[in-house]
Symmetry: C2
Subunit: 346 residues, 2 copies
DNA sequence: CTGTTAGCGCGTTCAT
DNA sequence: ATGAACGCGCTAACAG
């Protein structure tokens, strides 16, 4: 309600002095600044958003595109949107939600009208149309997730390949030898959601490096039973499972194994890797290499803010190193451990 | 990039003519309007958001406060946020996400700076602080959910009491006599989230009206087993269950009953009422009286837009009538049906 | 029916 | 270190 002019009058200074005293963009004598700040708090002054935007040619708003697919994990989605919003607020930005139907239209519009200073892109597919659009837009964008072609983009994500390697290493260290991977359902892969592919690639590659043979299965029917049956058929000696899948599937793993007479972690050890959900409530909580929404989102928002404010040009791809959380679902066996590779993966 | 002036020049008219031709707020001759529109599309003109906001004193932005509690159902939350956003876009509004930590601060700020034209309040508690704040703010707000004291507010929600009555009526019509309610976990009730209380109240009241005796249980451990055991202990002849609870509990009902030798719907019929999730993937899909996010959100956004644009003053409370979806989890018994009340609830 | 013009509230040069 | 004045792009009241 109170304008900058009211504050200036109250403090007995000029309008520009108020602006500078509050923004700190120019040196103001301590006493004057104090008077201005007192006046501002007294009048409960807050700059009119649109006026500030127009004058500064900056909206202090980031747009967030969060498409909702039929197979989208709403919980993960919400978590990422929230984390982006929190991270943005810490840097004095608000976030505008863009829904799928008009994800492209929304990006164009918020860029063309200067509604947003930047765009955060969530849930990125391998061949995401939003990547093509982002290259054309003058409005800076940061992707949380990594499309196949990252040229001209700025992308942040968990290092899924390192996470896969870390899961394998932990299981091998515990003496496990026959490892299976339960990946995401077909429908997620078909859409070319990219992170399951990157995880799987890292998994296969690191298994080859460590000289072990592995099996991969995609779950069906939103549960683990079929996938586990498939793994056991191909590797009857299966003694470890890596889960890079959704909560429904992961949550049914222990029951599915029990149904086949296998215990966790004794017969089969389990690691959940690159997942957003917690396994604490599972019958047996699983060791987890989390896909940490907070880490990815605050890194992404940080970059975007620096692009907007300082014109910085971050690298195309920033990979966040994985961390390992032990919850007791990996048990040591007496089997001879596989010899570590000469240069162990970090 | 192109300004209104560019369009005016291109079309050979004045600036204000362009403004009126595009906004339609004044009658413009068809030929002129066409010239203006051609020029606009040719130059790819979109009004600069902040300039429009400042001049019109309207941001075309709604703020959405969506607090995240420990027991929050992320999926439902996301659905509501998305539905609000979609509904808003249909009326040419964008939505700003306000996170919990600074829900109050965010509301104040977006109102005081004229960042938002209105506020949508989600996940309302019985004694929600945001209600108090909304009464003081000059910025209009619409609540999706109903606090205890609605004075001076505008609230929209499913008619939970009618939903409870509808569930009872359906079960009685099918010849069921001994009905139990599984409500939300304690932690949700403690927070005074209001809709479980309204549902329960409607349930008890309608049961009394129809002259039947009922039992109510609150689940624990994120599953139905304990609640069902409790219901059976209190009503050994239990032949129907109404679920007004979360997806984890609802999803385990069939298994819990099976563990006690009861089948669905033969021995025990089940209705899920006032829930956001789908039961289609459950072992036995349940008849559902949905808490329809789309209906609530578009009604709320519609009201908010009309308050902002036309200065309308909607009623304090708008209840959305429930609908019933049959999925086969209610089976008819041969028992003598309870006589319908003289004036059946709608 | 159309053009002219005065702000909207603020950030920021330019003088001082 | 401070103040005066201009302009951001648009809307709306006022003229014609």
């Amino acid at each position: 309600m109170a304008t900058i002019e009211d504050v200036a009058r109250e403090a007995g200074v000029s309008i520009s002095t108020v602006s500078y005293a509050l923004s700190g963009k120019r040196a103001i004598s301590a006493t004057t600044r104090q008077r201005v700040q007192d006046a501002a708090t007294k009048l409960n002054y807050l700059p009119h958003a649109s006026a500030r935007m127009l004058a500064a040619n900056r909206s202090h708003i980031f747009a967030v595109t969060a498409p909702l697919h039929p197979d989208t994990d709403h919980s993960a989605h919400m978590t990422f949107a929230m984390e982006v919003t929190k991270a943005a607020r810490e840097r004095d930005y608000d976030t505008l939600l863009l829904v799928h139907k008009d994800a492209l239209e929304g990006m164009k519009r918020s860029a063309a009208t200067s509604l947003a200073d930047g765009i955060i892109v969530l849930d990125v597919d391998a061949h995401d149309e939003r990547a093509t659009l982002a290259r054309q837009l003058s409005c800076p964008a940061v992707f949380i997730g990594i499309p196949e072609d990252t040229s001209g983009l700025v992308c942040v994500d968990l290092d899924f390949e390192a996470a896969a390697a870390m899961a394998i290493d932990r299981l091998l260290d515990a003496g496990r030898r026959s490892i299976g991977l339960i990946s995401h359902p077909e429908e997620t892969l078909v859409r070319e959601s990219n992170f399951p592919l990157r995880f799987r690639h890292g998994f296969e590659q690191h298994a080859a490096e460590r000289g072990i043979d592995i099996a991969v299965a995609n779950p069906t029917h939103h549960r683990a039973h079929e996938a586990i049956a498939e793994l056991l058929e191909r590797k009857p000696d299966l003694d470890a499972i890596v889960l890079n899948t959704n909560i429904d599937v992961a949550g049914s793993v222990t029951a599915a194994l029990a149904g086949l007479g296998r215990s966790v972690p004794g017969d089969v050890s389990v690691v959940a890797a690159g997942v957003t959900f917690s396994t604490l409530r599972f019958p047996v909580p699983f060791d987890t290499i989390p896909l940490d929404a907070h880490a990815s989102c605050s890194a992404a928002v940080d970059m975007l803010a620096r692009i907007v404010e300082n014109g910085e040009s971050p690298p195309e791809t920033t990979l966040i190193p994985p961390t390992y959380i032990e919850l007791g679902s990996v048990a040591r066996t007496s089997a001879t451990p596989v010899a570590p590779v000469t240069a162990p993966a970090t």
